[in-house]
């Protein structure tokens, strides 16, 4: 780990070579699981980013939808319109393939931003708790308890409600996604806080922190300039894992009716819609989104696993 951290900063010329040579990169190259998983992730992410270019249709533009295309099975022409769709269409006549690409986009966006938000909140609070200790620490950790008390679903619903209450009508529809992000982040920051606090408690007693204090550096420079970089690796691991969790959580929330708007479905919303057709024979509406989600979450999780071991110097 140390190697990579360092190479990322040192002389740009040798950087790549050095990174390639680092134990980190080496253990990556020698772990087929990690390689495959990251390939899958990369492909999916690219697919999401370039969805507008790849997707044959724009499922988010209602004007282009033809209801008569509804429920077209994969690869076979539609009874009325004779149109054919690679992965079939859903109840609105949306091309499932395109919808998955666009949905992937939303899911990833929600997942990544939620995790980032959670990470920022958690890391800051964790650091503060560890560094100052005393009643501040108690306060923060108790807030964490309160947080844990609320099921994520409830948090989401409440935030939805509040957002509806406070945002002016004309912005409500953009709101949904951001509410999701906040909701998931709020139910996720605690673990970051706990981990960071734990690690920081160890670091803050190391002599380099003393040295910094001796120079007269203030609390926050020490916290963020000195301690933070040294507690990042566990954070990185959690971030990966909870990215997968966030994407799943988004799906679950939409199952409970607080997900992305149906006109701009995320993977989760697609699955929620699709599960309604499980018994009715339109398996593809559920199957393909579910597989995509599985592939994404599974790969991310596997990467997280590998990272956990790779970043642990003791396991080298």
């Amino acid at each position: 780990m140390t190697d990579t951290m360092e190479t990322t900063k040192s002389a740009p010329k040798s950087r790549l070579a050095k990174f390639w040579d680092s134990d980190f990169a080496w253990s990556f190259r020698h772990s087929p699981v990690a390689v495959i998983a990251s390939l899958v992730v990369v492909v999916l992410v690219l697919a999401a980013i370039f969805a507008p270019l790849i997707a044959p249709y724009n499922p988010f533009d209602p004007a282009t939808l033809n209801l008569m295309n509804g429920f077209t099975p994969p690869g076979t022409p539609n009874a009325f319109t004779q149109e054919t769709f690679l992965l079939g269409t859903d109840d609105q006549g949306r091309d499932v393939f395109s919808t998955i690409l666009y949905g992937l986009r939303i899911s990833l966006f929600v997942g990544v931003s939620a995790v980032l938000l959670a990470l920022i909140i958690g890391v800051i609070l964790g650091l503060i708790a560890a560094y100052f200790g005393g009643w501040i620490e108690t306060l923060i950790m108790r807030i964490a308890d309160v947080q844990l008390t609320f099921p994520a679903i409830l948090v989401a619903m409440l935030i939805f409600g509040i957002a509806k209450g406070i945002t002016p009508p004309e912005y409500r529809d953009e709101m949904a996604i951001y509410v999701l992000i906040i909701a998931i982040a709020l139910s996720d920051w605690v673990q970051f806080a706990r981990v960071v606090r734990g690690a920081a408690l160890v670091e803050k007693n190391k002599e380099y922190v003393q040295a910094a204090r001796l120079i007269g550096r203030g609390s926050f420079p020490i916290m963020f300039r000195h301690i933070l970089p040294n507690v990042l690796s566990p954070v990185l691991v959690i971030a990966t894992i909870s990215l997968a969790l966030a994407i799943i959580a988004e799906a679950t929330l939409s199952f409970l009716g607080v997900g992305a708007p149906p006109t701009q479905p995320s993977l989760g919303t697609l699955i929620r819609i699709g599960q309604g057709f499980l018994f009715s024979g339109e398996w593809w509406i559920l199957f393909f989104p579910a597989c995509t989600l599985l592939a994404l979450a599974l790969s991310v999780n596997l990467l997280g696993d590998w990272l956990r071991d790779a970043l642990n110097p003791k396991l080298r």
Binding site: L67, M68, F71, P261, G276
Partner: protein, 521 residues
């Protein structure tokens, strides 16, 4: 230790037993109370129709037929109605039924706390003539009164007073909330709100049973998929509703039947008529186009109802041209056809109204109220996009929906209406009449539509005894509503029930499920 049976428990026990006259059914919502006067909602009244009875009741074909009253006739020329009561009827607890119970039930059901009291708005006084005769005096002639009280259920005065449930209490509940004592064909033997309710045939019922049920159990199951699974796996004998999309599959399955009918409920699009400006999207603040009938017409013509019915409803529903379905009395045959689907005409109308290059607005929609409501709204959005007006769909659970509508937070909305009286007058009173608190008019006319002629006709319709004249007036109103395109009626919501193939039952348009018509073979 008491041993209790629940659905699964029973199926286990019953395997093999030939005479399977026990019956289990499931629906999405649990009747929230056993008190027939506390809540005026379909799930409650529907369920309680098995337990309680009114003076009159509706038959398999919705026709009004004698129940606790054997006969009734108008008093004079419309001062009121006289009901002759059935003799020798007893309540489940054995006490006997007479005029006092009727009077008591009237007072109870028309009281402040009762949710049913709007039924008795026209009633000025109730007189007990003798033990088995009761007079209902009405302020104005009221031809429909008998049918309007078909769901008014009679409670036993003695029982109710003894358990001090004289006043229905929906806030904190009382004895009558969990217990029931009716004259109906079934009595409640076990009640676990939200979990299950067990009914058993009432031996002392006055009527002759058409069913072969020895015990019936009701379980609410929210998740449609789970309900379907339960039916398929035989954990229940009947579910209501069957998710539209599963109809085809279930029909192919030999073990289950799908029973379809047309519900009384008409699904329609509503507009904001009185708002000066649009409230949503980038056009928020611009003048409200829906004030212009041409725009509303354009919408009506842009919506391809047939497509919706073919795909989302899978051919399980009928298009609607009016606020009531043809099955309802007072339906206007003269205005039977709905505006044709015609994108070009719609565009033309928009242009004429000065919206050639369209506009954008907010469409509100529930996502857990009507069959596939969300999907339908999405489809509508798509279709309106074809004529260049972009709707922003905001679908929400019904718990947030009604408040939104009440606070006028919409430009256009989705609404379903089933007339409690099964008469065309009902929706006019609630949806079209100019809102008026004390007259209790237009209480669901969110858009604030107002038309002097309609307001003038409504009382006349309500009091007209001559069917022909009455129908003429109804036709006029229907015509006005259509010309003005006050609402855009789309289709009549289908009723889709699923049963095990060995079950025979009768489905009524009001979506009431009556055990006394069930036979398990």
């Amino acid at each position: 230790m008491i041993l209790r049976n629940s659905a699964i428990g029973l199926t286990m026990l019953l395997v093999g037993t030939a005479q399977a006259a026990e019956f289990k059914w499931a629906s999405t919502t649990d009747p929230q109370t056993m008190d027939p006067h506390a809540v005026n909602s379909a799930p409650v009244l529907g369920f309680l129709n098995n337990v309680y009875e009114g003076l009159v009741r509706r038959g398999k074909d919705m026709s009004v037929e004698p129940a606790l009253a054997v006969s009734w006739e108008p008093i004079g020329d419309g001062e009121g109605w006289r009901f002759k009561l059935r003799e020798g009827v007893t309540f489940h607890d054995g006490s006997s039924f007479d005029a006092q119970d009727v009077l008591f039930s009237y007072q109870r059901a028309s009281g402040e706390a009762a949710d049913t009291r709007s039924w008795f708005a026209p009633v000025s006084e109730v007189k007990v003539v003798d033990d088995y005769t009761v007079d209902f005096m009405t302020t104005t002639p009221n031809p429909l009164f008998p049918s309007s009280i078909a769901n008014w259920m009679i409670m036993d005065q003695g029982w109710t007073e003894a358990n001090d449930a004289v006043v229905p209490d929906k806030e904190t509940g009382n004895y009558a909330t969990i217990n029931a004592n009716g004259t109906g064909a079934f009595k409640v033997t076990e009640r676990e709100p939200g979990l299950k309710t067990v009914l058993e045939p009432f031996g002392g019922w006055w009527g002759d049973a058409e069913h072969n049920i020895t015990r019936a159990e009701f379980n609410p199951i929210q998740n449609p998929a789970t309900a379907v699974a339960a039916l398929l796996s035989g954990d229940v004998d009947m579910i209501n509703p069957v998710p539209i999309q599963d109809v085809a599959r279930l029909q192919q399955n030999g073990d289950v039947n799908v029973i379809q009918g047309i519900e009384a409920r008409v699904i329609m699009l509503g507009f904001s008529h009185d708002a000066e400006t649009l409230k949503y999207t980038d056009d928020a603040g611009k003048p409200n186009p829906f004030r212009d009938a041409r725009v509303r017409k354009a919408v009506a013509q842009a919506v391809n109802v047939d497509a919706i019915l073919a795909t989302i409803m899978r051919g399980n529903a009928e298009p609607a041209s009016q606020l009531v379905s043809p099955a309802m009395s007072g339906y206007s045959g003269a205005n039977a056809d709905r505006p044709a689907f015609d994108v070009e005409a719609a565009k033309a109308l928009l242009a004429e109204a000065g919206y050639a290059d369209g506009f954008s607005f907010g469409l509100k929609c529930p996502n857990d109220r009507y069959l596939n409501d969300e999907a339908v709204c999405q489809a509508v959005v798509g279709m309106l996009a074809q004529i260049g007006i972009t709707a922003e769909l905001d679908a929400m659970p019904v718990r947030n929906y009604w408040p939104e509508l009440r606070e006028d937070n919409y430009d256009m909305y989705l609404l379903g209406w089933s007339p409690g009286t099964f008469d065309a007058e009902h929706p006019v009173r609630f949806l079209v009449a100019t809102p008026n608190e004390e007259k209790k008019l237009g209480s669901w006319n969110f858009g604030g539509f107002s038309n002097a002629r309609v307001d003038e006709l409504l009382p006349m319709i309500q009091s007209e005894l001559d069917q022909a004249k009455r129908q003429a007036m109804l036709d006029e109103v229907a015509a006005i509503i259509q010309d003005e395109q006050v609402y855009v009626p789309m289709y009549v919501q289908p009723l889709v029930w699923g049963t095990r193939s060995n079950v025979e039952l009768t489905q009524r348009p009001d979506n009431f499920f009556l055990l006394r018509w069930v036979t398990v073979n």
